[in-house]
């Protein structure tokens, strides 16, 4: 047994050694990225990981980092597996990270309690726990620009518009195909609330991880129930399969809308030409003809510093990664402005995130004009509930198919605050926010 201890000790020694090394470099901002390029969800994970990595890398190459401070980028492989995600977090939290991107709703849920204790801000961009948009209760969690609840509400608005008004939804059947995991279940409470208000019938079609590619019977039930609209909250291999099955079942594609995570190019491509008309929500543009993407190509991809195939640049999920990193960078930059420090730490970046205000002008500077809508985060509102638009698959690529649509904030926000309160109550001893928002602003 002592021999085991030896091995243990050895491993430990290695681990400790390795885990302090990068932290020593104080002249850099450490930005860990929890990504997944492996496992059943790698299909969605890889482009995002590349997008996030490439933008930050581009800042290093082009501007020598943020405010002259290099960014230490480190990826940690989670495989979209909560267990590995927590391991990743434990291994990085010692290295003074500026901000953590869990990139999985499951992992986010695990880390939310830890973030407050370890004083590390967590950016779960348009995923994670919707109620965490309440800054009063979740000072360390940020999920701009929109929550799943906003997304669902926009879907309802879109459907209503096509049907001719919210009142027209009465008596309609609306189906939610969702991954049977926290991520997939997120929109259910809002949809249920809206179903009550607007009088439509909500049908749930859960898909377990192991049956992601085996949705035959699920689509039979859909054929039986004949829902008027379908909202797809899927991920990974589940999305292309769902689109394919929809085509097979002859479901009218233009009445099937995916959340922004179901809007990958590969997702729609699965259905082939018949998938034309499939819609998905989005909060940033697709395509490579933006200054920022061009810069990435110039400074990163062409130099062979990226893993991403050049011809695929500007695909939806890649751009999503870019957008995410943009939020990180802007938060860091704001933090630098507020604190005057160069190498900012987690607590500084939290302030930065709470003061985050990306205007049209700023977007222009970033070469993101028309790429995304302005984003503003406040101390109380860690999300902003910003506008999203509906994209449509034209058989080969995504096309913007609507204007920017405002979510039903008046419906969402109260639910958010209620949910947040409920969360705090359920977790006895939930730490109170150190300094109140009112005092701060």
């Amino acid at each position: 047994m002592s021999f085991m201890k030896l091995k243990l000790g050895a491993a430990a020694a290695v681990l400790i050694g390795a885990s302090v090394l990068p932290a020593a470099a104080q002249d850099s901002i450490y930005v860990p990225l929890l990504t997944y390029r492996t496992g059943p969800f790698a299909g969605s994970g890889i482009p995002i990981a590349d997008g996030m990595h490439d933008y930050l890398r581009m800042l290093n190459e082009r501007d020598g980092g943020i405010g002259g401070v290099k960014i230490a980028i480190e990826e940690c492989e989670t495989g979209y597996d909560t267990k590995k995600g927590v391991e990743c977090y434990e291994s990085i939290k010692g290295k003074n990270p500026a901000v953590v991107n869990p990139y999985s709703t499951g992992i986010t849920l695990q880390l939310i309690p830890k973030a407050a204790v370890d004083k590390i801000p967590m950016l779960s961009m348009a995923y994670g726990l919707s109620p965490s948009a309440d800054g009063n209760i979740f000072p360390w969690i940020f999920n701009p620009p929109v929550t799943y609840w906003d997304g669902a509400s926009v879907f309802i608005k879109h459907a209503a518009e096509k049907e001719g008004g919210l009142d027209k939804l009465k008596g309609k059947k609306i189906g939610l195909i969702h991954l049977d995991a926290p991520y997939g279940k997120e929109p259910i409470p809002l949809l249920e609330a809206l179903a009550k208000d607007l009088g439509f019938e909500l049908k749930l079609y859960p898909v377990t991880a192991q049956d992601m590619q085996n949705q035959g019977s699920l689509w039979l039930s859909i054929r039986r129930d004949r829902p008027d609209w379908l909202y797809l909250q899927g991920w990974g291999a589940m999305n292309p399969t769902a689109v394919k099955e929809a085509v097979k079942a002859g479901f009218p594609m233009n009445k099937m809308v995916g959340v922004w995570w179901a809007g990958g190019d590969d997702d729609a491509r699965g259905g082939g030409a018949e998938a034309k008309g499939y819609k998905s929500l989005d909060f940033h543009a697709v395509g490579a003809d933006f200054g920022v993407i061009k810069d990435i190509q110039k400074h990163v991809v062409d130099k062979g510093l990226s893993k991403f195939p050049k011809e695929k640049l500007g695909e939806n999920l890649y751009n999503r990664g870019v957008y995410n990193s943009m939020l990180i960078a802007e938060a860091v930059r704001t933090a630098q402005q507020i604190t005057g420090k160069k190498a900012v730490n987690g607590e500084d970046v939290r302030k930065g995130l709470e003061a985050l205000n990306i205007t049209e002008a700023r977007l222009k500077e970033l070469g993101m004009e028309g790429f995304a809508a302005p984003v503003k985060v406040s101390c109380e509102d860690h999300n902003g509930h910003h506008k999203v638009f509906v994209a449509e698959w034209d058989g080969t690529k995504w096309q913007k198919a609507s204007d920017w649509i405002e979510p039903l904030k008046d419906k969402v926000r109260p639910l958010i605050e209620a949910g947040a309160k409920d969360y705090a109550e359920k977790n006895t001893g939930w730490p109170k926010r150190s300094e109140s928002c009112a005092k701060q602003s």
């Binding site: 049956d211 035959g216 019977s217």
Partner: protein
């Protein structure tokens, strides 16, 4: 043997009587429930009604959906059967419970698609994929089976676990983990679907599914011929019966193992193509392969017809169950229904559908 008649009790087998009574009971129950439902004694919301009447009402009301369900079940059943077939082949010949069959399916399909992505013409890629499976078979025999010969079953079982992990890593390392489109068109697999109007409803038959069923049955037929007619086939059966016997008549086990694993590899490739064409080729497929295990239980580990029948039972059973009874439990029961069916079946008949009765000796 005169005395045999003497000891055998007169009259019919008690088991037959039991069956008779069971049948009568069920019939009576059906009649009663039918009447109860007619007279409205029990209706929607009533548990009994929801469980034992409503589903059948639904079946009667929408026969097209029933047909569709059966068809879907049939197709997935065929694919389960194919995976199970791979298990059975290997178990018969080498007594190894090959857990890696699932990943072999993914690996084979991935090789095919991956090669095509790298610019290899589809058919060439197909040939190469077959080649890869051969190499894999040889490698497995050399590296895993040969050193582990005469080890207890569980050890070999675990070794295939190791193989699974190895192949997952290797596959992702070479071809990347993202799901890939199956190159069905390039392989001249039929596309599209035919709508058949049945019972005033519309039943949709995917051409690819029809092809899958056809190819699967063709494949099984070929294997059957291969085993019964060819010399190697006979040798295989000999090995299956007894390793020692096979050795004593001068059959090279190693050679047989390579052949068997190669055959299983080809089966895996076909399965991978078919399933890949229905959804995508990704590592998530490997989890579906676990569904082959209940199939094996039903069919028995050593029976090829068992694998087929078992596959169909499981496929149809879980689809019907999920579609008609799933909603009662909140859906998703597909994930475990197959195993429960198998489990209950085992309690009644531990040796599987086609296995012989086990007589314990000391």
């Amino acid at each position: 043997m005169a005395s045999e008649a003497a000891v055998r009790r007169p009259g019919i087998e008690p088991r037959m009587v039991a069956w008779l009574f069971a049948a009568l009971g069920v019939a009576a129950l059906v009649v009663i429930l039918a009447i109860a439902a007619r007279t409205g004694a029990i209706g929607r919301g009533n548990l009994v009604y929801d469980v034992v009447v409503d589903p059948f009402v639904l079946m009667a009301q929408a026969p097209d959906l029933l047909v569709q369900t059966l068809w879907e079940g049939l197709v997935s059943g065929v694919l389960y059967a194919l995976i199970a077939l791979g298990f059975v082949l290997i178990f018969k010949a080498s007594g190894v419970f090959n857990f890696a069959q699932g990943i072999m399916v993914v690996f084979a399909a991935l090789t095919l698609v991956g090669l095509h992505e790298k610019g290899v013409p589809a058919l060439v890629a197909l040939v190469l994929a077959v080649g890869v499976m051969l190499v894999l078979a040889i490698a497995v025999e050399r590296v895993v089976l040969r050193p582990l010969v005469n080890q207890p079953d569980i050890i070999l079982f675990m070794a295939t676990f190791g193989l699974t992990y190895f192949l997952i890593g290797l596959g992702e390392l070479i071809f990347g983990g993202n799901p890939k489109q199956m190159i069905a068109r390039q392989l001249y697999l039929p596309q599209g679907a035919t709508d058949a109007a049945i019972f005033g409803g519309r039943v949709r038959f995917q051409h690819i599914d029809i092809a899958a069923a056809a190819i699967a049955s063709l494949m099984i037929a070929t294997l059957a011929v291969f085993f019964s007619k060819t010399r190697i086939g006979r040798a295989l059966r000999a090995v299956a019966d007894s390793h020692k016997a096979a050795l004593s008549v001068g059959i090279s086990l190693n050679q047989i193992w390579v052949i068997v694993w190669f055959t299983a590899g080809i089966v895996a490739l076909v399965t991978g193509i078919m399933w890949g064409a229905r959804s995508d080729v990704s590592f998530a497929l490997q989890i579906i392969a676990l569904k082959a295990l209940p199939v094996l239980i039903l069919g028995g580990f050593t029976s090829i017809p068992g694998a087929i029948v078992g596959g169909l039972i499981i496929g149809v059973g879980e689809k019907i169950g999920e579609f008609y009874w799933g909603p009662l439990l909140g859906g998703g029961i597909e994930s475990w229904l197959a195993y429960m069916i198998a489990l209950l079946f085992l309690l009644y008949r531990p040796q599987g559908l086609f296995g012989e009765k086990i007589i314990e000796r000391v």
